[in-house]
Amino acid sequence: MPTVAVDKEDLYQRLGKVYTTEEFDHLCFEFGIELDDDTTAEVEEAARNGQPTERPQLKIEIPANRYDLLCIEGIARALRVFLQKDKTPAYRLVFPTGGEANLLTATIAPETAQVRPFFACAILRNVKFTPRSYASFIDLQDKLHQNICRRRQLVAIGTHDLDTLKPPFRYEARAPKNIKFMPLNKTKEYTAEELMTSEKHLAKYLPIIRDSPVYPIIYDSQERVLSMPPIINSEHSKITLDTKNIFVDVTATDETKLNIVVNMVATMFSEYAADQYTIEPVRVVYPSGKSVIYPDISSRHTTARVSYINGCTGLSLKAEEIGTLLQRMSLIAHPSPIDPDNLLVEIPCTRPDIFHECDIMEDAAIGYGFNNLPKTFPATGTVAQPLAVSKLSDLVRREWAMAGWVEVLPLILCSHDENFGWLNRVDDNKTAVKLANPKTAEYQVIRTSLLPGLLKTIRENRKHPLPVKIFEASDVAFKDPALERQARNVRHAGAVWCNKTAGFEVVCGLLDRIMAMLEVPRILASDKKAKHGYYLLENEDPTFFPGRAAKILYRLKGNPPFSSSQMSQSPLTDTQHPTGPAFVTSPTGAEATKPSTFDNLKSTLSSVLPSIGSSLPKDLDIGVIGILHPSVLEKFEINFPCSALEFTLEPFMQEITPVWADES
């Protein structure tokens, strides 16, 4: 949200009242802007200490879509209307003597379409600036540039002393080497190429056009440059405190924002024109020959239903009452003479934030006062329901905490090394989601394992007495080319034990405990007949110490035993591969309304293993357990042996039909 600093005394003078800070804060709050700071105390303190002081300011936060409130002129105007001290100003276009035929003109060259196709102008005549209004004029351009103009990427504004120029104007686009002029605050001429390389203070804007073969440039009839948008204006036409006639140029990449910006600059500062609130328009001729008169400050006429506004707000106001509320918000509204449910609403060009009837409804509600609305409560009667995955992970969390383990909360993002290399895992580029623009190496991938976070937590807790026993039940994410968003989260449970001895049996006991709580029996790896249960299968896994690593396998209830070789064919779950575990999981997120236990797993498996229906199924590889390899400990700077456990919780979820499921 932009923050605008306004001169306190000037603002109160414009509002016709000297407010206490509390009173003004309240006024802002009700209107929907926020008083961030009142510098009076600071200024007085500085004055007491004999330091140089500025005039006291109010710093006001403005909603990001209210470009009409980015300067003291706009804030004062809107608040006076809100306080019912004024009506919304009527801005007028005034043609030069001789009428429309004598309008100044600007022609757009076709080459501009390659870089910045839209162009508009406006003229403010016989302006009288004071140092403070001049500063405000400069500041408004800056605020617009930083906000709607997106740091000049989308729109750029130039303002010029019209009396130094000779129309008609030409908006062109030329190769950089063919552009040469004296830029603002310089004493010699530069080519565009030179400007692009030598001027540090322009650096942040250069990328906007740097790669374009042609740069936008505006000339007058004497081949004098006005500006090279969006980079810089020329020294020749620069405005000063004494400038009387101001020429505003605006260039943009779309017409909507072009109009909004030229209208804002023109309407806000038309206040200082000798004929207040008047603007002299300019005829702009497009390459197609079409000619448009800018700025278009006409109001937008629309309607709003009384029944809609009352229905949405919970009020029962009459059309006239709503009209009055809307007037306070700078809209002009009258009951329709034909339809008693309709208000005819005129939206001034300073309110481009209004798209829909709902925006008008909101203004009525603000006019009424959000805090004055009746106290009601929605009658929506519904039944509460947790997610299956939350119920399950809460069960695991509580059981493990009761078993004496401490829950930790590492980050989801981690470095590529932490997720792969440090665990002796190789990135096959099929598992982890990678980030394009992280600010630090801490955030390069979404973790595919809970181990890095658990190990980092142990590293940071060297002072904790041994043994350290921590766990986490949370999401990791995997790439999944079958899904719209190409990735899915999977709920894992993981734990690490750190002590003077590695204690494989301790993490094994933790696994046994949670399986007992989930009523999954322990079976032998050699048992081919058991219908349901879990077992450990020794496995070579470079994350773990040789001979002290195993896979955890799960045989689903009511399903014949599986043979155990085909699982590794899954593109998602190649557990033979040294990338480490990307355990079998069911899709979630968008697909989570589907039944989430066996049917779901089976469908996932059949989608990745087309043969699953006909050939022998197998037990699910749900995770890993073992003593961590000393080289892993070294990478995570842990000086004591550790045992670790990690497995997916997805096969253990109990189906819950969500309240929003299809009706059968």
């Binding site: 909603p63 879509n65 989308l154 990449t253 779309d254 909507t256 229905g311 949405c312 707000t313 919970g314 009020l315 934030d353 798209f355 829909h356 709902c358 909101e362 509600a365 603000i366 959000f370 805090n371 106290k375 009601t376 929605p378 929506t380 009667g381 519904t382 509460a384 947790p386 997610l387 939350s390 905490a401 009761m402 078993a403 401490v406 829950e407 930790v408 909360l409 590492p410 980050l411 989801i412 980030l435 394009a436 623009n437 937590t457 590293r459 940071e460 807790n461 999401d475 719209e484 968003r485 190409q486 990735a487 899915r488 989260n489 997120g589 989570a592 309304t593 309240v659 929003w660 299809d662």
Partner: protein
Amino acid sequence: MAEQLQQHILDQLSSTSSIQDTRTITIPGDATPATSQDSQLIIQGALNSLLSREMITYTTQESFAYGLTPEGNDIADKGSHEAVVWSVLPLKGHGAALSIKDLKAKVGDETAKIGQGRAFKNGWVGKEGDGLVKLTANIDDVTRNELTEIRETGSVKAGEKVIADLRKRKLVIQKKLLWFTVSKGANYSTSSAKLETDLTAEMLQSGAWKTAQFKKYNFDAEGAPTMGGALHPLLKVREEFRNIFMEMGFAEMPTSQFVESGFWCFDSLFVPQQHPARDLQDTFYVSDPPQSLPPPQEYYGRVKTVHTTGGYGSIGYRAPWSEDDSRKLLLRTHTTASSANLLWRLANRKGGFKPVKMFSIDRVFRNEATDATHLAEFHQVEGVVADYGLTLADLIGFMRTFFNKMGIENLRFKPAYNPYTEPSLEIFAFHPMLNKWVEIGNSGMFRPEMLEPMGLPPDVRVHGWGLSLERPTMIRYGINNIRTLVGHKVSIEGVEKSAAVRF
């Protein structure tokens, strides 16, 4: 020895019934009575042990004695500075006077400087040429004598004035001396048999508990630490929020989708494609996988239209549209991406829309610079109510009830801007400790431009609100640095010790 001493004290009490001054006791094995402070502390240990069994009572007495500072000790050993100076000089007429330089070399700078003046004043020494000589063959080193007396007796007969002077010269300090007056206690006996500390199974079996004497229990002592594990404090607060939602009839929304597309995270919510929230500065974009599959085709078309040319009563943003931006993959910046997906499914469910109240609490990501209150990841708490004919007054009333359940009574609502809600309200609560209004969350009614392209009936209105889980948790636990709450730098001990949460 400790038991001997205890027995000695009990024996002495049996003959005298009280011991007026423990300095008269001779500790077994010692030759002389225990007058030193160290000895008295040993006696105090024995007394405390007897006291805990109520065999004696005692009162602590204190008196003051004087002792020497290191410098005072030095003088008592070697003589005062002036006496040392005097001692090295030749007697007048019995040799060459000693130069100041030689004096310094003999006795050191410090002694030469202090001793000279006093020796002159006492008339012990005098000048001869450039050097010094003794004026008298014998001296009385008063200071040394006084200090020796104090060292031996703790006082000096010459009186307080002398002591005050020596203290001023930092040669003597006052020492506190503790001693005790002892009398018989309720359980006095001359037998100091060891008392039982705990009731045991053996005592129950043998019946020994009936006659055993038990040591008095110190109820001020803390109990033994428990052995259990602990849940993380942030997730304890999450549970409290989940409870509030459940109490109010909310169903939990699926949010297991860290990776979203520009379409679901922004476009579907009517966030314009040029919105700053979509900047690289604010959002983590995904490089691999490269882009999303096409969103649901018809719905995508309606969303694109409402943005670019309007519809459903809206004029739209009328800005350029990029399908690439829609299909960019990113880490969700809010769980509202999941809410949008669910509302779309709700609009298209078999059987048609039905009113719902839904919530989620899950991780979101912002590519912001991190500091004491911001991490790149945090948890968003979100609630959504969708029904026919909901009103803004309902939303405010609902917020009051929701936050009252967290113990927040004093609320007010500020009009705000949010691209996907209209009206949008910032929720402020009065913070009694900070004595000011603080923003605690955001809320609003989802825009028709978001809801109607999904296929929801136009008279269905949807309330949404959100807040972070971290902020109320930091306030609850008085945490200033978020890194001590979330991430691997969290102290495990801190997790173990964090209190339960009761809003």
